[in-house]
């Protein structure tokens, strides 16, 4: 908690209850994320991981507790454009071309035309979609759409990238390829990433730290520091240490998941 070590995200005693059904989605969450950290939030459905992501992004207001992003209150950080967000669906606008979709946040930040154009070209290069600039979203595959969404989220160089199960709707092969691409993009931009997933192997493969959550009420069950070196590759998934870490995360989930419904427990396997 020393001021010397800068944090990108600081969450202190955050609780969120939804009045409908009197659900406690999050209870007493404390979490700090350092610059360039890649943190995954993992847990069964109902553990509040997506809620926590939205609390960081000031899209949901916590019932109590404080959220600080880039040293500012979350509201201020959102107004300043300190984070980009990617959802499970690409959420692209059909009436805009790929290039115009990526330019949207830049337009909203009031960037000039020439500056926008240069940045969009650079982002298209980054996600390797240079030849698709003038296509419309519905002309692209699901994986390509998600790459456009990532380019859009990173276009204004936010310090923080929030990702809510971004590859959850994709097939396994596309997902593993995009995992590698995301790591390479992350290495080039140096953003801090908060990545919500319910895939244990995806969380371990991507993250420098896995935050394991448990449901009802949503709480942090524990942390797993992933000491696999970057850059990671296809071989990383075959290393013994990778399997040890996967087991460690699974054990944490299971220990805290004794009260889970059978299908929730099965979903974690």
């Amino acid at each position: 908690m020393s001021d010397a070590a800068p944090t990108v995200v600081r969450i202190e005693r955050v609780t969120k209850t939804f009045p409908q059904g009197n659900v406690t989605a999050l209870q007493d969450i404390d979490l700090e994320l350092a610059p360039k950290e890649f943190a995954s939030l993992i847990g069964p459905s109902g553990c509040g991981k997506s809620t926590l992501l939205r609390v960081i992004g000031d899209l949901i207001e916590p019932t109590s507790g404080t959220v600080t992003v880039n040293g500012k209150p979350a509201r201020q950080a959102r107004n300043d454009g300190d984070y980009g967000i990617v959802f499970q669906d690409a959420v692209l606008f059909d009436w805009r071309t790929v290039a115009k979709n990526i330019a949207l946040p830049l337009e909203m930040l009031g960037w000039g035309r020439a500056k926008r154009k240069a940045r969009v070209e650079a982002m298209l290069e980054l996600v390797e979609l240079g030849s698709f600039a003038e296509h419309h979203p519905w002309q692209l595959s699901g994986g390509m759409q998600q790459r456009v969404a990532i380019a859009r989220a990173l276009a204004f160089e936010p310090a923080l990238l929030l990702m809510d199960e971004p590859f959850g709707a994709l097939d396994e092969m596309t997902r593993e390829r995009l995992n590698l691409e995301l790591l390479s993009i992350w290495a080039q931009t140096g953003s801090t990433v908060v990545f919500v997933t319910h895939s244990i192997s995806e969380a371990v493969f991507l993250s420098s730290r896995v935050v394991v959550m448990s449901p009802r009420p949503g709480r942090i069950a524990g942390f797993v520091d992933v000491d696999l070196p970057y850059p990671r590759s296809v071989e990383t998934r075959e290393e013994p240490r990778f399997f040890e870490l996967v087991t460690e995360v699974r054990e944490l989930l299971r220990k805290r998941g004794e009260h889970l419904l059978p299908e929730e427990a099965a979903a974690l396997e």
Binding site: F87, D89, F93, D94, R96, L104, M108, L109
Partner: protein, 272 residues
């Protein structure tokens, strides 16, 4: 991926013309067969002229009386167009207000939906009394009221059909309500609006002509169809109906053309 790029280049102009002709051919054949059967059946079964005139007679009347029918059609078309414009604009304005102020929607929507079930045409004689029955205004009013509800209801649905994720994304950019409106809600509502405008274009012609059945200027198409039928000039009445059809199709097609330009981006615009 290269397949997408190739299809993007599109077919040649000549190739497209040939393909479009090919798409129209079945419909043209069906139309020719129907008209031929109609003509043949009247001759074969000696069907009385007043029951069903021959298509060839309708066509010749359509030509010989063109100097009465087309000006009458144009007169009625202007009523329909005026009603279409007034009703649609009011519908869009009402949808905008109801979409913006939730309380207004709670108060007004049940009434609008109940009003939707009212047979507006039944009010045509009343509108005649409110306005001068000879003036075009009473017909414009019928057409406008007919157009209002479908445009209002569809536009409202369109304005409300931005996905929660799209709205979250815009909020992550700290977008104001006005910006969300302009950049998300309006473009999302456009396909809904044009669907409603196509329906309204048809309703406007119906409203104007049926309005004229209850009285109107002597040179109005509905009045001519009605009075000619009353004096057993059925061929003229049929020719008038043909004029009404052609004008109705013209109005509908112009809406479709504007739609093609306004929402070029839509996937369905390329398929149709």
């Amino acid at each position: 991926m290269s397949g997408i790029v190739i299809s993007e280049r599109g077919p040649t102009v000549g190739g497209r013309a040939v393909r479009q002709a090919g798409e129209w051919l079945p419909a043209l054949v069906v139309a020719a067969v129907v008209i031929g059967t109609w003509e043949g059946a009247i001759v074969a079964f000696h069907i009385q002229q007043f029951l069903l005139p021959k298509p060839s007679d309708i066509a010749s009347t359509f030509w010989t009386q063109r100097h009465e029918l087309w000006p009458a059609g144009w007169y009625t078309f202007k009523e329909a167009l005026g009603g279409f414009a007034i009703g649609s604009l009011a519908g869009v304005a009402a949808a905008t207000l109801v979409g913006r102020f939730k309380g207004l929607g709670t108060a007004l929507m049940p009434i609008f939906i109940a009003a939707n079930a009212v047979p507006i045409i039944a009010f045509a004689p009343i509108f005649g009394a409110w306005f001068n029955p000879i003036s075009p205004h009473s017909k414009m009013a019928v057409a406008a009221v007919l157009c209002f509800l479908p445009v209002m209801v569809n536009t409202l649905r369109g304005l409300q059909s931005a996905s929660p994720r799209q709205l979250e994304l815009m909020r992550s950019y700290a977008a104001s309500e006005l910006e969300i409106w302009r950049r998300v809600r309006v473009p999302t509502a456009l396909p809904f609006l044009f669907t409603a405008l196509k329906v309204a274009s048809v309703l406007a012609m119906i409203g104007a002509i049926v309005g004229e059945y209850f009285g109107g200027a002597l040179n109005a198409l509905g009045v001519i169809i009605n009075s000619e039928a009353n004096v057993f000039h059925f061929t003229t009445a049929w020719a008038g109906i043909l004029v009404a059809c052609l004008l109705g199709i013209a109005l509908y097609s112009s809406v479709v053309l504007v739609e093609r330009v306004a929402i070029r981006w839509a996937p369905q615009a390329r398929d149709s």
